[in-house]
């Protein structure tokens, strides 16, 4: 069990004469026993960051410490880290038992019978006791995944690293393993860094999530903070499915003027904006309401497409009924599944002022986020 500290970690690759910055000045501090999820689109540097922690990539600049010990130049095998790979990376010529004992045999001086017992116990914990004598090629994907997990757990390392460990599983198994992994991590209390591109995994699994884009750390916070108080437009758009609605608007007095609508804002919101006038208005689909009344924050819209999801419907709304649906500003709203609307209907959509986000159009930085009290009401905290 240990703390993990990344201080201004940078990684550059040399490609011919060009220097490619894969990870740019990332600082993270992970508490003992914490589950941190690192998330971002492909190529954002999340795997490279993890590989640097593992010692599989050299660190160009910055310091990496495990339990306050700088390990920049410590070899992988001496870092006391266990890693679960996306491909599982099992040793194909060894039985499950041998796969799981390998790490203990190589990194400790434990006698064989003790190793055997630890492997058996871990196997039991993961429900793979009956597979211990099989070869990896005789196992299903889910079973291999468990073995890979068991191989990491049995070593009882200081830090767990997981590189998209669930992405090769089918949807149902993935959901199951997600819960199980969380439970295991909770029971074992081992500091864990989990890399994924899947925002559902990020939202549901981690104590905190770190969002990376273009090698730079965008935000590190609890999942709900990242969701409701994104640091910038990238975070806001990356988390949430369907993704947040964005409209380019300009501040004129106390009104936000966009191509399709004008939106009045009150003093409090106005004060957050400072001198910025070129803005982006953001609103989450589930915050949009369909109502029967008129007002400043209510807009008449035409339903373009309805996607029924069962418990809820995703509706695509246009402000201008005559606009070309390909190019017109679209407002996506998530509404109750029993709320029957159909294509071509005219409905009134409310964009509640306490749920809007405002971003600086040039820097992408969040200037105003929705109020958390209200958000807390909505998610019944």
């Amino acid at each position: 069990m240990a703390t993990l500290e990344l201080d201004s970690i940078t990684k550059t690759f040399q490609d011919g004469d060009e220097e490619i910055v894969a990870v740019d000045d990332v600082s993270l501090s992970i508490d003992d026993g914490e589950f941190l999820v690192v998330v971002g689109p492909s190529g954002c540097g999340k795997s490279t960051t993890l590989r640097m922690v593992a010692g599989l990539e050299t660190i160009t600049a910055g310091t990496l410490s495990i339990d306050n010990r700088v390990v920049n130049d410590v070899k992988s095998q001496d870092r006391d880290i266990a890693m679960v790979f996306q491909s599982y990376a099992l040793y194909p010529h060894m039985s499950v038992r041998q796969n799981m004992s390998f790490g203990l045999e190589e990194s400790t001086d434990l006698p064989d019978d003790e190793i055997n017992q630890m492997v058996s116990e871990t196997g039991e914990m993961l429900g793979i006791s009956n597979l211990l004598d099989r070869k990896p090629s005789d196992l299903s994907g889910g079973q291999q995944q468990r073995v890979a997990l068991g191989r990491a757990i049995v070593r009882d390392p200081e830090v767990f690293l997981m590189d998209e460990p669930l992405s090769n599983l089918d949807a149902k198994l993935r959901a199951e393993m997600r819960t199980e992994l969380q439970r295991l991590q909770n029971d074992l209390g081992v500091t864990t860094v989990y890399v994924t591109h899947d925002q559902t995994e990020a939202m549901t699994m981690g104590d905190r999530i770190a969002i990376l884009d273009g090698g730079e750390l965008q935000q590190i916070a609890t999942p709900l903070e990242c969701y409701h108080e994104p640091a910038n437009r990238f975070v806001a758009s990356f988390l949430g499915e369907p993704s947040m609605n964005f409209f380019d608007v300009t501040l004129e007095g106390d009104r936000l003027v966009g191509d399709a609508f004008e939106y009045p804002i009150d003093e409090g919101v106005r004060a957050d904006l400072g001198d910025a006038t070129d803005l982006v208005l953001g609103i989450r689909p589930e915050a949009v309401e369909l109502v029967d009344e008129d007002g400043d924050h209510e807009f008449e819209t035409t339903v373009d497409v309805v996607e029924p999801m069962g418990d809820e419907n995703t509706v695509y709304l246009h402000f201008d009924p005559d606009a070309d649906p390909e190019t017109a500003a679209t407002l996506v709203a998530t509404i109750d599944g029993f709320n029957r609307v159909s294509e071509g209907d005219t409905v009134t959509a409310r964009i509640p002022e306490d749920a809007i986000h405002l971003f600086d159009r040039n820097t992408g930085e969040a200037l105003h986020n929705r109020s958390m009290e209200n958000a807390a009401d909505q998610i019944n905290l």
């Binding site: 070899k75 790490g103 190589e106 191989r151 070593r155």
Partner: protein, 314 residues
């Protein structure tokens, strides 16, 4: 199609019925294809068949019958095989004495070299230079090194003197040639072995190796416990290839051992002179000798055949 359905259900149709239907469906193209295939098979098999039947013929039968025709009862003899085995047996022993160690050592060294050039992370530009030098070794023809090779063993590395204590034990000092052959063949075999193993290791899962490193294994242990056990199929390929190459090589044996009368003479050296005399060529004896000398390479193919196929596919 009902026809196809019946055919897939083997239980309801007899073999003869199926055969008849297959014959009915035979087209001109099919017939042409089989004729060509039969011709090609015959074309490739006739030399071997001729050699084999010739080795059982008496001198008179060879003159009187066509090369590929079997000998009549009066022309049949096992005498030539007897003579060939008597003459070659000691050569076989000598050949095994250098072919087996040279094959095993070159395969093993090639595997380790390839491992060093693939798995560990060191500068790509250095790797490329080392690899280039090794690969260049493949393209040096045997003939080009004959003179330097002789000079090396006769002037620079006089093993004969270094090993004088061995000869004192009563072993003929001609056997120094065997040791020289082992070293020469290992040196000559390393490039191709390295190349073959490198190709194989390139396809190994990087994550698996990384996983082993994270599990606490050193580079040496990763080789010993992960890479080496997984190299089986490629070892089969390299062992077969190297063994055949070394067993059949005449040039180096001519230069290093030189005389067939030497007690250390390899089988190829004896075979070269077998059946030639002032009276002319004894074809039957030469054929019997050739077949007998080829038996070990054949055995190696059969022995490692399954792994060989797997290795070639990889």
């Amino acid at each position: 199609m009902s026809d196809g359905e019946i055919r897939t259900d083997g239980g309801t149709t007899s073999t003869t019925a199926r055969l008849r239907r297959n014959l009915d469906q035979l087209t001109v193209e099919d017939v042409g294809l089989y004729v060509v295939l039969a011709f090609a098979a015959a074309f490739y098999l006739v030399p071997i068949e001729s050699g084999l039947v010739t080795s059982f013929k008496t001198g008179i039968a060879i003159v009187e019958t066509a090369p590929f025709a079997p000998p009549g009862p009066s022309g049949l003899t096992l005498e030539k095989w007897q003579t060939a085995i008597d003459a070659l047996l000691r050569g076989m022993g000598n050949s095994l004495l250098y072919a087996v160690p040279a094959t095993v050592i070159s395969a093993f060294v090639g595997s380790i070299t390839a491992y060093g050039l693939t798995i560990p992370t060191w500068k790509k530009s250095y790797k490329a230079v080392v690899l280039m030098l090794i690969i260049a070794g493949i393209f040096i023809p045997y003939q080009a090194v004959l003179v330097p090779l002789t000079q090396f063993w006769s002037q620079w590395a006089q093993l004969d003197q270094v090993l004088s204590f061995v000869w004192a034990l009563g072993i003929d000092n001609d056997y120094v040639g065997i040791i020289e052959l082992v070293i020469t063949h290992v040196a000559y075999g390393i490039p191709i072995c390295t190349l073959l193993f490198r190709t194989y290791y390139k396809t190994m899962s990087e994550e698996m190796i990384e996983s082993a490193r994270l599990d606490g294994a050193t580079l040496r242990r990763v080789y010993r416990r992960i890479v080496l056990p997984l190299s089986g199929p490629m070892f089969a390929v390299v062992l077969i290839y190297q063994f055949t190459q070394i067993w059949n090589d005449l040039l180096f044996t001519l230069v290093i051992v030189s005389t067939e009368s030497s007690p250390a003479a390899p089988v190829v050296l004896i075979l070269a002179g077998l059946g030639s005399s002032l009276e002319g060529q004894d074809f039957a004896l030469r054929m019997a000798g050739a077949f007998f000398a080829a038996l070990p390479t054949l055995a190696v193919y059969i022995f490692f055949g399954e792994e060989f196929a797997e290795g070639v596919a990889a």
